[in-house]
Symmetry: C2
Subunit: 200 residues, 2 copies
Amino acid sequence: MGAVAGPEIERLVQLLARLPGLGPRSARRAALHLIKKREALMMPLASAMQVALDKVQVCKTCGNIDTQNPCTVCTDPKRDDAIIVVVADVADLWALERANATQGRYHVLGATLSPLDGVGPQDLTIDALVARAHDSRVHEIILALNATVDGQTTAHYITDLLQDANVKVTRLAHGVPVGGELDYLDEGTLSAAMRQRTLF
Amino acid sequence: MGAVAGPEIERLVQLLARLPGLGPRSARRAALHLIKKREALMMPLASAMQVALDKVQVCKTCGNIDTQNPCTVCTDPKRDDAIIVVVADVADLWALERANATQGRYHVLGATLSPLDGVGPQDLTIDALVARAHDSRVHEIILALNATVDGQTTAHYITDLLQDANVKVTRLAHGVPVGGELDYLDEGTLSAAMRQRTLF
Ligand SMILES: [Zn+2]
Ligand SMILES: [Zn+2]
């Protein structure tokens, strides 16, 4: 294809292929689509990326990504200063916001501890979290981490570090996903859902 | 998410979601990935798109997409002027080039006839193809169109129009895909593969 379409298009395809969710084949389709929808899609997308490059920053308080710093959540006076929701990634923060799951503020760790992948405490924003937890306004740290080995390892590690802070440390409930079918769930989830059952 | 991440990021997500292969969820992941890989990916991709916007054109001869016009294939002196391979879309041209399937030149129709979708002959570059077929250097028109109802309707329509031109009109063979398993193939393919069997 390089010889046919020229190195400029080949480069566009190769860069698109590095987006999560796009393989080499779909990157070619995406490049063609962009070229065909030149005015309607490629020009606006190039300009949206330029705007993002110019404006988007990492919040120095919580690690969220936003066009203002501190971010919209950190500066929102209606948010509850008493609660910090700890997430591994900005994607998790976005997911919780879409679900309207909390009125608290956030802390983005950047990753979970993963000894196998060489991710240690120094790679996460754990020191900053511990400092925030010692703010007298903060009463609860909610660990909204994946229910995976790495997520739970991280949760335990953080819980230990927060012993001295005057905060309650909580984590998300285990249970049946909304719309989930019982006979597809693993036994750990089912027994946790049974233990944590609520009044109907 | 709009309220959390700001309208600039929301717009980036919405534009990415219009790429084939990316839904709303993967568009969010792609946007986050771009923001995190600011220097390594978002800057080069924005600039590759700007280069494509500045340089990429539709070949006025064959409909291929390239940074030169006429395109690399049309201007390549080593290509065979006697053969024009007719494809519906530039993606098909790229696929044939990757396969090194032909030394001929191309003609991109832009679509296939599709009465149900309101795509008629006037929406395709058929007039230009007929004109090219009357060039005395051209001896064969290979219809490399999808083996679908619309593809075959288009093939028949073009074949009729080329009655007066002094060219042989051919189409791709039907058969067993390389690596394909017989018991997954439909009966039409199997009987065509049998009829068009070749010496071992
Ligand atoms: Zn923030
Ligand atoms: Zn051309």
